[in-house]
Subunit: 152 residues, 2 copies
């Protein structure tokens, strides 16, 4: 099993970061505008991605496993690309030097491969979109997300 791990710092209280990770509106503000479902523990969130033309590219369904206010969000991938199904995604928040530090993990990939590399770089751009949303009120969720290659 292999993991993607990342770390960003956001100049805002943990409660604001947690809201952006634990509500449908918050998630729609930095990852993909097409976010629906229930973001409570036991619920399922549906993330979908479209071309600017409206054509659907794909998406993920996440079961919400754990929410610890201002500290932790944890999901399991129930639907999406085969490589993602069964993996876990988690966000751990902690204060440091006036920042809320986000330690991100996308864990339990079955193998390291090129698609995992793509997802690593793409997650970095989305974590910086999360930061921009929380710090400035404006993220870059899909379909306005930063393109990094022929794979979107």
């Amino acid at each position: 099993m292999v993991d993607i791990v990342q770390r960003v710092g956001i100049k805002a209280p943990a409660a604001k970061v947690f809201a952006a990770l634990s509500t449908v509106d918050g998630l729609a503000g930095w990852w993909t505008r097409s976010t629906t479902g229930s973001s409570k523990v036991g619920g399922t969130i549906a993330f979908r991605f479209q071309q600017p033309s409206g054509e659907e590219i794909g998406g993920f369904d996440m079961d919400v496993l754990e929410l610890v206010p201002d500290q932790k969000v944890r999901w399991r991938v129930k639907g999406g690309p085969d490589e993602w199904v069964g993996t876990n995604i988690e966000f751990d928040l902690s204060p440091q030097d006036g920042y809320t530090i986000v330690r991100f993990g996308h864990r339990n990939w079955r193998e390291e491969n090129e698609f995992m590399g793509h997802c690593t770089t793409k997650w970095a751009t989305f974590l910086l979109s999360l930061r921009d949303l929380v710090e400035t009120g404006r993220g870059k969720p899909a379909p306005e997300d930063q393109k990094i290659s022929n794979w979107h």
Copy 2:
């Protein structure tokens, strides 16, 4: 042993990307302006990072292990933070859909930790700086690099 892997696509011929990865001037245009040494196989490249004030923050010394024109660059870290020493860094280039695809690996970390998470996100910003340099002539090397947290 754990690895960081990433993937970006650059709209330019592989020769231009290879030049940005295999020459001191190229590397200084996207990673850190303070790049010196020999970028030939058997040489050592010294990367240093400064505050805008000029104060040195740290750096890395890389032995150049392999250069395959327009295809591959591979280094081993000889000096730098303890977590980096002995790790390998590689860039594999291949054409796809009009892009030069860069598959990046920073391999053989002894363990997954918070610093590795920081380096993952930071590498993503530098790989996009590499892309910008090759596509537009202007990257964001340190000290003008994108800050991602209290750790720089």
